[in-house]
Amino acid sequence: MTELSMTELSPQLLLYIATAACLFAIGVYGFIVGPQTLRRILALNIISAGIFMLMVVLAYRGLANGQARASPDPVLHALILTGLVVAVSATAFALALLGRLKQTQASPEHQP
């Protein structure tokens, strides 16, 4: 593995990393502030998009300098795939729970 600290990244990659950080920050803001549950679920998705973007960018460390490895880091791609599967199933589960919550609230016996 080539050792590269964050400071050696090219400006282009730094821009991508800043974008990923912005996505993460937007998601965290939405998650903490958003009163509706659906909005919070979407905020979680934005957070994970930010993290996956960071991972994609990190996979290209060393390539941008025109040296080191010939292909992007495959381990990170594997991690992203796993992370995506987890994120999709968790979102589906959250939406299903939300759907059931709405159903129970709408049914007559629960109305005050």
């Binding site: 593995m1 080539t2 796993t82 987890v86 968790a90 589960f93 729970l97 059931r100 919550l101 129970t104």
Partner: protein, 472 residues
């Protein structure tokens, strides 16, 4: 052997989905076989030292590696035995309590997630285990019907948020060092801004998932809403998973300067949890909420022990930390099963329902009182062992009067909330009539872990020796 421990619950869960009719039987069978295998693993690890395997024969660094040291094997044994016990309780009560067919495969998946978590030594695998654990736990909470959906959804969202914070930390560390394996990462570790930021992010995520003060607010609602066997599993085992990862991070990865900086914070959070959790447990009018708040408080002991361990690097604190985890798991399982049994039979959620329970349901009340004794730390129970190790460590450090005083106060507080229930139960003037004749078998099942936590003292010496040297 380790692979068997992982494959069996997974296979069991799949078969349960195929044949729902034999699901209870299958759950019992998997849990029983896994308990035996775990027992064998414990004896093998204690003889030969820690075992490590690389899955599918890939070279190290690429393969998923599993490692069982004596602490992991003990925790696996605890998990499988409690799973077996809770499954027995669920078999005894599921017709009455309308548990739902989902319980059986989900509890097996929960066991799988926990076992994998105790065995993993790789940051990303730990993330996957955390998610598996979280989703299975939320699904189990939502089993108890419409009222549980809201707390379950809240639990899910916070748990996902916690895991994402953890994942961001993992991505940052991988970006900086290019490895995920904890021991390999520890070799290259540098104390700089990036690694500190990653550690703080992961710690926040894990504290949220482990319900450590001040991120505990979701726990009482979720644990109280779940059906009794599920609450027992959640309080006894699930919150310990993230705690285990937290200890791995801070004890194996963090540099001494980072650990020293974080230690007072952990100690403070621990003490605050003990104090505020105890007060909340004393004030709540609902029986299950009281036990859930007591979980928040008791987790404070583990946080406090972790903080002191990081600060003083004294092996006694490591022993105290893991003894708390073991003793609390057994005692809390007993508490939740006993309270669940009493509230189901006496027909009410409030603590007042337990009035005169020493007369109407003496066995379940005895189980609660015995387990409560361990929560307070009365000798000779597991809770006492843990507290003794903590006090001894503090005493050896010298000049820690403030901590000693705080521990006395919170012990009195835990005694207050346990005796609040016991006093109500002995109020025999107008006992609450049970809705139906109390069942004997579930009450005995609630009593078993309570007796086990007192039996821990019989093995106190090997336990202390093992946990002191292991300490992670």
């Amino acid at each position: 052997m380790m692979v068997l421990l992982l494959v069996l619950p997974l296979l069991g869960a799949l078969l349960m989905l195929l044949w729902p009719k034999v699901a209870p039987l299958l759950t019992l069978l998997t849990a029983a076989v896994c308990s035996l295998v775990a027992l064998q693993l414990v004896s093998r690890v204690s003889e030969q030292g820690s075992l490590q395997i690389l899955l599918a024969g890939w070279p190290s660094g690429l393969a998923i590696s599993l490692e069982a040291n004596s602490l992991s094997s003990l925790l696996i044994l605890l998990t499988t035995v409690l799973q077996l016990l809770v499954a027995l309780y669920a078999v005894a009560t599921y017709r009455r309590d309308k548990l739902g067919a989902g319980f059986w495969p989900l509890s097996s998946l929960l066991q799988l997630g926990l076992t994998a978590l105790w065995l993993s030594r790789d940051l990303f695998n730990l993330y996957v285990c955390l998610e598996l654990l979280g989703i299975a736990a939320v699904a189990l909470v939502s089993l108890s019907g419409d009222k549980a959906i809201k707390p379950a959804l809240n639990y899910l969202l916070l748990s996902l948020f916690g895991s994402l914070c953890y994942l961001l930390g993992v991505a940052m560390l991988y970006g900086a060092y290019g490895v995920l394996d904890i021991s390999a990462l520890a070799l290259q570790w540098q104390a700089n801004l990036l690694s500190s930021a990653a550690l703080v992010l992961m710690t926040l995520g894990l504290m949220l998932k482990a319900a450590l003060w001040p991120l505990h607010a979701w726990l009482p609602a979720a644990h109280a809403a779940a059906p009794a066997p599920v609450s027992a599993l959640l309080s006894a085992l699930v919150v310990k998973g993230p705690l285990f990862i937290l200890c791995l991070l801070w004890l194996q990865l963090a540099a001494t300067t980072q650990a020293q900086a974080m230690a007072p914070l952990f100690s403070f959070c621990g003490l605050a949890a003990l104090l505020l959790g105890g007060i909340a447990a004393l004030r709540t009018p609902l029986a299950k909420n009281m036990v859930a708040y007591s979980t928040v408080a008791q987790l404070g002991y583990a946080t406090l022990a972790l903080g002191l361990l990081l600060q003083f690097n004294q092996p006694l604190f490591a022993a105290a930390l893991w003894l708390f985890v073991l003793a609390h798991a057994l005692a809390k399982a007993a508490c939740f099963l006993a309270i669940g049994e009493m509230t189901a039979t006496l027909g009410g959620k409030r603590l007042n329902t337990l009035k005169g329970a020493s007369q109407t349901m003496p066995l379940a009340m005895f189980a609660f009182a015995v387990a409560g004794g361990s929560l307070i730390g009365l000798p000779p129970s597991g809770g006492f062992l843990a507290k003794w190790a903590l006090l001894q460590g503090l005493w050896l450090q010298g000049d820690q009067l403030l901590y000693l005083l705080a521990i006395v106060v919170v012990t009195l507080l835990s005694a207050a909330y346990v005796f609040r229930v016991v006093a109500l139960a002995f109020d025999r003037a107008k006992p609450v009539k049970p809705d139906f004749a109390p069942h004997i078998v579930p009450q005995w099942l609630a009593l078993l872990p309570a007796l086990a936590v007192w039996a821990m003292t019989l093995y106190s010496e090997p336990l202390l020796r093992l946990l002191k040297q292991e300490g992670l």
